[in-house]
């Protein structure tokens, strides 16, 4: 029975992975509007319009969930969501090839200058938050680490659990692949922009990290808060302590309050104040219903 459950879970992960991968390669991801307008009542399509969303792979899944639900409520509006990375999305906004850019980082000043040259005024809207949980095997006795300690583990300065108050066991360092935005975010936020240790194992997906941490007693990894919460019977989240602030247990509330250190906002960028259909969509995303989807997708709502 246990084996059966595990197989099922793996299949789920497989599907999730393939969705991740499709996003990664920047393929067209959502073409739902097509289907919906096909089955809907065609005489009703008065507000027919087309909206493109492009950017961060972290947000592709979330954005397509928003788009799907928005299109269900608004007949005749077609939305297409594409990944490719935050940089790609911002470039598309500057070139006028997308209505909305999704980004898991702030726009850079260099990009802002370029935007001004092109007569585009990116308007920033925080639409959700993303917390990154540091996870270990449930059998590991370590409960709390400081940001500095986590950084030292990932740069290879610490290689044994006893250096951070655990047992005399070698640390197995698990990370996402270097193509992941989370890889870079973690490097910047936790590792002081230093390089990862060469012993760090780069896993192709979040599911693979959770799988390995649940199997390997002395492993450490980082995954999105949503994933970690979902897998809380297989991996344990560490509480994190920033320089002199108190120890914070990662949770949705802590991320919302800005207390948990390893978190980042997820942005929309539009050209100027959003108007028309874009405005409608942004309003929907910020509404209670839109924020409920944030929670369901595994991210943190803004309020």
């Amino acid at each position: 029975m246990k084996v059966f459950e595990r197989t099922l879970l793996l299949l789920q992960n497989l599907v999730k992975n393939s969705i991740d991968k499709i996003g990664l390669f920047g393929l067209w991801f959502v073409i739902v509007g097509f289907m919906l307008s096909g089955c809907g009542n065609k005489t009703k399509t008065k507000e027919a319009s087309y909206l493109t969303i492009k950017g961060s792979d972290t947000m592709v899944h979330l954005a397509s969930n928003w788009a799907e639900n928005f299109m269900k409520a608004h007949q005749g509006i077609d939305i297409s969501v594409t990944g490719g990375g935050s940089g790609t999305g911002i470039a598309a906004l500057l070139n006028g090839t997308t209505n909305v850019c999704i980004a898991s980082r702030k726009i850079k000043s260099k990009e802002l200058n370029l935007a001004e040259e092109k007569g585009i005024y990116p308007k920033e809207i925080v639409t959700a938050r993303d917390g990154i949980a540091v996870v270990v095997n449930p059998e590991n006795s370590v409960n709390t680490l400081s940001l500095e300690q986590i950084g030292k583990i990932y740069t290879g300065a610490y290689t044994n659990w006893k250096q951070v108050g655990g047992l005399d066991q070698q640390i197995i360092v698990l990370s996402r692949e270097s193509s992941s935005g989370t890889f870079v975010f973690f490097q910047k936020r936790v590792m002081n922009k230093k390089d990862y240790t060469q012993d760090a194992m780069l896993m192709p997906s979040t599911a693979a990290i959770i799988q390995s941490v649940s199997q390997d007693k002395w492993a450490i990894g980082y995954v999105g808060l949503g994933y970690a919460t979902e897998a809380k019977d297989r991996v344990r989240m560490l509480s994190v302590r920033d320089a002199d602030s108190p120890t914070i247990v990662p949770s949705i509330a802590a991320v919302q309050a800005g207390e948990y250190a390893i978190a980042r906002p997820l942005y929309f960028y539009t050209n100027g104040e959003p108007i028309g259909v874009v405005r409608q969509f942004v309003n929907y995303v910020l509404s209670n219903e839109g924020q409920k989807i944030v929670l369901e997708t595994g991210y943190v709502p803004i309020n």
Binding site: I172, S179, D195, M201, L202, M203
Partner: protein, 289 residues
Amino acid sequence: MINWREKIIQLLLVGAASASILIVLLIFLSLGKEALPFMSDPGIGRLLEYRWIPVSFKREVFGIIPLITGSVLVTILATGLMIPFGVLGAVYIAEIAVARERAFLKPFIEIMAGIPSVVIGFFGLVILNPVLKEVFQLKTGLTALSGAILLALMAIPTVISISEDAIRSVPKSIKEASLALGASRLQTIFRVVVPAALPGIIAAVMLGIGRVVGETMVVLMVTGNAAKITFNPVDSVRTMTATIAAEMGEVAFGSDHYQALFWVGIVLLVITFTLNYIAQKVLNRYRMK
């Protein structure tokens, strides 16, 4: 009339044959075109460093040596597993098994060849890795050995099928002569039949190695992908194929990293070409005899 038809057929055949040459040439050209700027800008010497750190806030390092040693280690281990299982399996099926056994074994082995690599990868992640961890008392099952076992599993059907054909095509007269001279059945198999079939067996093994070197999904899933230079079978390695697969999707077009990945592709291509070349040489030498 017949002449005219023959001409068309000949033309079609020439076209088909040269199309593949053309495609290979185009692959080489396009790889070279994307990789070339790397030679002057960061400099080709950057590829010979001992670490692979393509994403860094300090200094990006594109040393492909750890990736090469990773691929080499996995390939050697897989080949070591593949030869005994593949060749002995083929000998059994071709020489010893009775017709009913053969009718049962052959289709199963052929089905094995058709299992998608991602399925084998999941099998490795969930079943093989924990077993290896127990057996060798490791901290983690994400090792080169795990990748090698799975790759051997994927290559064995190829090796068995082709070796078996080679063994069965050994003329019956040679075998009968050996038996008539008083050699036992085992002596006949290993001293007469297998040596006679050796060119075919070597070709089979070379094809198997080709599959192992080029396989991507399985190694990406189970070897841990840590880019370090090691020859320890129970250490984690990052192979060239896994590196290209994992990083190509997100890399900025035309960047140093992008070009470095094309260099990895070129090295991979050169290795498989060399392997094929050696296989041809070996085959020719045995044919001469």
